[in-house]
């Protein structure tokens, strides 16, 4: 991973948002998910544009992971419309076109880094020759900057290393849509910056669409667009700039808090007028 690419945004300047080409990567209408007695997502309407990084932000437990699982097609009891890359979410042809990283690294602890990637590559692209598969594995390991400990067992790695193995698996086969659930949790600042540079490079050079969740608001500034979530609803949807100017705040964090206060006040008003 190079530290600065030409496509990397300046640390605090506004991002140049790539033009949206074609239909949205994800389009949701009235998306509702029920888990047990709880309605986790309440009739969401949103789109995720192609070729951009969309940040999904909100406090823990607001439904970010459920939303991502719905898009990937592993969530049960999804109602409403949810279209992913032109197909209904969970369609079999999407399984090769989406890269998905769960919140907890889902890798085999009793396999080495390389064995993990070899196996997932064999599942994803069984038609590749052994040499091609090896090149493919080398490529994604370079992407996540894990080239030195490839023969260590995943179970012996640090938390940050394991989550990078998990991310590398999602990068196999050059997916069009990457759904990354808190990919930078527990990583040091240098690694976090490097990964965000990688995300930008994926969007810029491969035209990949990224949906990245986080509960760290400073990462929001690095996204082209934001979906702010709270308690199963979408609080705001727009570029970081638009959110800041709409709320008259300096940071996305302040904008988010402002919107939360507004929503809470509105809810309270509804309570008292009832």
């Amino acid at each position: 991973m190079n530290k600065e690419g030409p496509d990397t945004p300046a640390e605090d300047g506004p991002l140049a948002v790539p033009a949206e080409d074609g239909p949205a990567a994800v389009r949701a209408q009235g998306l509702t998910v029920v888990r047990g007695p709880r309605t986790v997502l309440r009739g969401l309407d949103f789109t995720v544009p192609r070729g951009q990084i969309t940040g999904l932000l909100g406090p823990s437990g607001c439904g970010k992971s459920t939303l991502m699982r719905s898009i990937v097609g592993t969530q049960a009891k999804v109602t409403g419309t949810l279209e992913v890359l032109g197909h209904p979410a969970g369609h079999p042809t999407l399984r090769t076109r989406i890269g998905y990283v769960t919140q907890a690294p889902s890798v085999y602890d009793d396999l080495t880094i390389r064995q993990n990637l070899d196996y997932f590559a064999a599942i994803l692209t069984p038609e590749l020759s052994t040499a091609d598969r090896r090149r493919e594995v080398d490529r994604v390991l370079t992407d996540v900057d894990l080239t030195t400990h490839t023969d260590s067992l995943a179970g012996n790695l640090s938390g940050g290393q394991r989550s990078r193995v998990s991310l590398a698996v999602a990068l196999l086969g050059t997916p069009e849509l990457l759904v990354l659930d808190e990919p930078t949790v527990g990583l040091d600042p240098v690694l976090r910056r490097d990964l965000w540079n990688l995300f930008h490079s994926l969007a810029a050079t491969r035209g990949a669409t990224l949906l990245v969740s986080s509960h760290v608001m400073d990462e929001a500034e690095r996204c082209h667009r934001l979906l702010l979530m709270r308690e199963g609803e979408i609080l705001a949807d727009g570029t970081p700039d638009a959110l800041r100017s709409r709320t008259g705040t300096d940071t996305v964090e302040a904008a988010f808090l402002h919107l939360v206060d507004e929503a809470t006040a509105a809810a309270r008003e509804k309570e008292t007028t009832r």
Binding site: R95, S106, I123
Partner: protein
């Protein structure tokens, strides 16, 4: 950024089929590789049955006929129990570690996963059965009239049945504690009723009827047919078919417990 490499795109996927040979063998190889990093488990799987047979041989030192009967039955029971335990824990881990969710979000067929597990543990079962059968027949004086190859065949089918049962019950276990407790719940009743301790015809009629529908009874019957007859008897063929049928049925049920979408 190293993003300029020409990477194979995901746009031309292998069409999804019930079984994909390379995905199945990749899965089997992966399961075996995981085991290879755990030599203690391999040693326990392979050696414990042998040690038990030696133990049994000298427990019945004065009555070799009893050793013949129980020894042959145990050659069928060991692979079933071992594979049941290993598979139930392995697939439970797969469910709880998130790797199953990841695999099912990829173009892996449920059949590929199950066949991969069956292939991997079937291989271990063959090695285990070769060791145990060889030890029993050549070193411990187990008196088998039929072919030892038939003993091996039954043992392999028993291992498959154990794999199938383990896979199936892992869906109902939320933790490894629960998975281990399924062993006394699922295996012990069959062990008591399979004819190991007393002939099934001597049991209370109700128990005999129950033992008639439990697959382990036929595993043990099959072993005893080989023990007592030079040729493949009609009963042996029936026993083998029943055990194989049960294994396939339970594997199918196991496949049904793998859901791409979970709550």
């Amino acid at each position: 950024m190293s993003t300029t490499t020409t990477a194979p795109t995901r746009s031309a996927p292998t069409p999804p089929r019930a079984l994909n040979a390379s995905r199945t063998t990749a899965t089997a190889a992966r399961v075996l590789r995981q085991l290879r990093h755990d030599p203690r488990t391999i040693a326990l799987m392979l050696l414990v049955p042998c040690v038990m047979l030696v133990l049994l041989r000298y427990v019945f030192d004065g009555s070799p006929r009893v050793f013949d009967n129980i020894g042959a039955s145990l050659l069928g029971i060991f692979p079933l129990i071992t594979m049941f335990l290993v598979t139930s824990i392995a697939t439970l881990r797969e469910r709880t570690s998130g790797t199953l969710e990841r695999l099912l979000a990829m173009p892996l067929g449920k059949g590929d996963l199950i066949a991969g597990y069956a292939l991997a543990f079937g291989t271990i079962a063959i090695i285990q059965s070769c060791l145990a059968t060889g030890l029993a027949v050549w070193f411990l004086g187990l008196d088998v009239i039929g072919s030892p190859w038939l003993l091996l065949l039954v043992a392999l089918l028993d291992a498959l049945l154990g794999t199938a049962l383990g896979l199936f019950v892992s869906a109902f276990a939320a933790s490894e504690f629960q998975a281990v407790q399924f062993m006394p719940a699922v295996i012990f009743p069959q062990l008591l009723l399979c004819g190991l301790f007393t002939a099934r015809s001597n049991m209370h009629p109700v128990l005999e009827a129950i033992s008639d529908v439990l697959p382990m009874s036929y595993a043990v019957d099959g072993m005893n047919e080989v023990l007592k007859h030079t040729d493949m008897t009609a009963n042996f063929v029936r026993d083998v078919l029943i055990v194989a049928g049960c294994a396939l049925l339970v594997l199918g049920l196991g496949a049904a417990t793998l859901r791409r979408r979970t709550a």
